[in-house]
């Protein structure tokens, strides 16, 4: 998957959110977009997902991609139970109860299949949304800070699960986060976004999963990233 | 103005009889219904010339007109006390409301116009006689002079209402139904009847010799009892109207044409069908009795009404 995109959008006064951005997302790999709050991560993802028009530039997408998206907010249908929300994207015939049950188990919602979204905690809602995207079984998954509302352990479990899915099914994943650790753990390629530009790209394909975040090489990369981000925000 | 009549003590109403100069009444205005259709020339002239206004200004009472056109509405308004005189109300409506216990009294005749009420059939309908009506669908307003006309006409061929299919509708709707071809005949009156005749719809019969089409002027018994003076003044004013109409025949027609927006020819043609003399004749009483009988026979009223008792004897 190659693309080149460039775009800006209006708030009140013209606000350039994406400003002459040029990126390439390799297929069948995990690309992490890292950046500060409000730097345009969600916007980039929305442009990629086709939810948002872009003003200029070109966006090349390989055809025939079944694409799934996890939004920053849970966005569950309030009138459906967890179970129905999870199978929401599937045609009736394709619903495989065992698989769904397993998925719900993975995200730790066993026992809440018949609860309505309003009866879930914030983190549980986010996990249900995650299960929905995974149940849909897309080739390309766009994820917008999916683990932000999760605690340390569930987050770890989910990260493992994601890596497992990735290594078994070789899906393409574009993952947005503001956590540098998470980026280092998951990304084969890390894009550091700031002020609508890609400030720096890191390629971590050489590191195998599971990674040890405290390994000296990764700590080096982390320091590097921190430096870039702090630098930018001072100027 | 929705003032209710002000109830006063017996003393003040008797005072009205004693002192002619400063009479006191149970009302502070005179409510009169204003009905211009089918072709109520006296109402039109009266309003144009302000005859009632002049008459009642002698007592310092303003005149208020109300466009209440249907009979039931008029009798209802009379009962509510908002209206003092029903100036042109069908005798049928008066009988109906009296039968149901309303306090209503006839003080004079307004008009008789049997020829203005007609039964129409389609342009090339084969209906010629009353006998031909058997099994036909006929539209018209129930419980009115037109309805009575139909029943009387049927009776000439020995038929009753059950031999036909009668559908109850207002005059404009009946017209539309006849033109649209969904009914065989329609009972029409006034300008609508005139237009239809002009357009070539066949008149099966008019009300002549069948009904007398008596329109009357009515007030409530209670009002008369407490304010006989006003009722008398009203009758005098009516005479003035008749006087004016006689003396200015040409102008009368013009005013009527202007108010109804009918062509002067149409007014000229229709005017002679109406007899606007106000005196209650023996014939009027007989015809009303006939009407009452008709309504009783057709189950429209349950309680008999004494026609003679309905009429106020004013001297």
């Amino acid at each position: 998957m190659e693309n080149l995109c460039k775009s800006y959008r209006v708030a009140e006064k013209q606000l350039k959110v994406l400003d002459g951005l040029t990126v390439e997302f390799p297929e069948q790999s995990i690309t992490v977009i890292l950046g500060r709050s409000g730097c345009g991560k969600t916007t980039l993802l929305r442009v990629l997902g086709g939810f948002e028009e872009y003003d200029s530039g070109t966006l090349l997408r390989p055809p025939l991609h079944k694409m799934g998206m996890v939004f920053q907010e849970p966005r569950l249908m309030p009138w459906l139970t967890v179970w129905k929300n999870v199978i929401f994207g599937l045609p009736k015939a394709q619903v495989d109860p065992d698989r769904i049950r397993e998925l719900i188990n993975t995200v730790g919602l066993v026992g809440f299949e018949n609860a309505y979204p309003a009866q879930l905690s914030g983190g549980m809602q986010q996990r249900a949304a995650l299960a929905r995207a995974l149940a849909y079984d897309p080739e390309l998954i766009l994820m917008d800070e999916p683990f932000a509302a999760l605690d340390h352990f569930i987050r770890e479990a989910m990260q493992d699960e994601l890596l497992r899915i990735f290594s078994v099914h070789k899906k393409s994943i574009i993952f947005v986060t503001h956590s540098i650790d998470e980026a280092l753990l998951l990304g084969q390629k890390i894009l550091v976004l700031d002020q609508g530009r890609v400030e720096q790209e890191f390629s971590l394909e050489s590191f195998d999963y599971p990674r040890d975040i405290l390994s000296p090489e990764l700590i080096d990369v982390k320091k590097n990233i921190i430096k870039i981000i702090t630098q930018r925000s001072i100027t | 103005g929705e003032e209710k009549p002000v109830e006063q003590s017996a003393g003040s109403s008797s005072a009205a009889e004693i002192s002619e100069t400063a009479p006191e009444f149970t009302v502070n205005k005179i409510g009169v219904t204003y009905v211009k259709s089918p072709l109520n020339v006296p109402s039109i002239i009266e309003k144009e010339k302000g005859i009632f206004t002049k008459a009642f200004s002698e007592y310092g009472l303003p005149v208020e007109y109300s466009n209440l056109t249907t009979g039931p509405e008029q009798t209802q308004a009379l009962a509510s006390g908002d209206i003092q005189f029903l100036y042109a109300v069908g005798a049928t409506s008066v009988i109906l409301s009296a039968s149901n216990g309303a306090d209503v009294k006839i003080i004079s005749t307004y008009s008789r116009s049997p020829e203005a009420f007609r039964l129409f059939a389609g342009k090339d309908s084969t209906i010629q006689t009353a006998a031909d009506l058997k099994g036909k669908k006929i539209a018209g307003p129930k419980g009115t002079i037109l309805h009575e006309l139909l029943v009387a006409y049927l009776a000439t061929a020995g038929l009753t209402e059950s031999d036909i299919e009668f559908v109850s509708m207002g005059i404009p709707d009946s017209q539309a139904a006849l033109v649209g071809g969904t009914v065989d005949c329609a009972l029409l009156a006034g300008p609508v009847a005139y237009n239809m005749a002009k357009d070539g719809y066949r008149v099966v019969t008019t009300g002549k010799d069948l009904v007398d089409a008596t329109i009357v002027v009515a007030t409530s018994g209670a009002f008369y009892e407490k304010n006989p003076l006003l009722v008398k003044r009203f009758l005098e004013a009516q005479a003035e109207i008749a006087q004016y109409m006689k003396e200015n025949a040409e102008e009368t027609l013009e005013i009527t044409a202007g108010e109804t927006e009918l062509s002067i020819e149409a007014v000229k043609e229709m005017f002679p069908m109406y007899d606007f003399s106000t005196e209650i004749t023996e014939a009027d009483i007989t015809s009303m009795k006939k009407t009452e009988q008709f309504m009783k026979d057709n189950g429209m009223i349950e309680n008999r009404v004494d026609i003679n008792g309905l009429i106020l004897k004013i001297d």
């Binding site: 694409m67 966005r75 | 109906l96």
Partner: protein, 252 residues
């Protein structure tokens, strides 16, 4: 039980007042018949079976008109809610019709459609179409874009998006519209049965008015109000059953 008394209290007060006023004989029974008299003529009509007949005839008309109006409002509401671009074609005509009194069209309807059931049903359709249309349109148009984007992300086509996201989301609005519409269907029964009816509750009232039978008029008013109320209750109940709590019942 307490609710029952709360509900009964104002009704009892009204009846008592009515009884007192008619006992005081301020107005003759022609003008305001007392509860007793009204009940007697009600009972007479029940016994002879005419009342049931009137009710059934009117019920049938109301339901037919309501259903047709609903289907039309739903289709046009979908069009307007889902494809706002199509609005200019019909918007002005719909808005125009929304303000035209159906009563003024009776003569034209008779001319075109005769005095059969068609005209009567059209009057009812005209009366109940607009609240449903506007509410359906509003409900669909105000659908949360965020949820629609979820549908997009799951590869839904337009129809799926509509059926699975917009429709459930708009349901409370649609239901409010339908309830208002049902009420207006009942209210239109007099206008509808002005057109050459020989049966039905509207006819009952009109006929009684013409015949100066105030007691029958009042019976008619009560029966329409109560039958309409029952319809509404049944409708609410059916919906509540169908939704079994999935949607909050802000519409009830």
């Amino acid at each position: 039980m307490k609710n029952f008394w709360k509900a009964a209290l104002p009704i009892i007060v009204i009846f008592l007042l009515w009884q007192v006023v008619s006992d005081m004989q301020i107005w003759s029974s022609y003008v305001l018949p007392g509860p007793g008299q009204v009940f007697r003529s009600f009972w007479a009509m029940v016994k002879s079976g005419v009342l049931l007949l009137h009710i059934l005839v009117s019920l049938w008309r109301v339901l037919t008109g309501f259903l047709i109006a609903f289907v039309l409002a739903f289709l046009l509401g979908i069009l307007a809610g889902v494809r706002p671009a199509s609005a200019p074609y019909y918007r002005h005509i719909v808005e125009f019709m929304r303000n035209v009194p159906p009563l003024s069209l009776i003569a034209l309807l008779i001319l075109w459609f005769g005095i059969g059931e068609t005209s009567k049903v059209i009057i009812i359709v005209l009366a109940s179409f607009f609240p449903m249309f506007l509410n359906i349109k509003k409900g669909l148009a105000s659908c949360d874009i965020k949820l629609l984007e979820v549908g997009h992300s799951l590869g839904f086509n337009k129809i799926q998006k509509f059926c699975r996201i917009m429709l459930p989301h708009a349901l409370p609005d649609i239901l409010v519209g339908m309830r208002v519409g049902l009420g207006y269907s009942w209210r239109a029964i007099i206008g509808a049965e002005m057109i050459a009816a020989s049966r039905g509750l509207g006819y009952l009232i009109l006929d009684a008015q013409q015949m100066s039978r105030s007691d029958k008029v009042i019976v008619g008013i009560f029966v329409i109000g109560i039958v309409g109320y029952l319809c509404d209750c049944l409708f609410s109940l059916a919906i509540r059953k169908a939704l079994h709590g999935g949607v909050d019942n802000s519409w009830s």
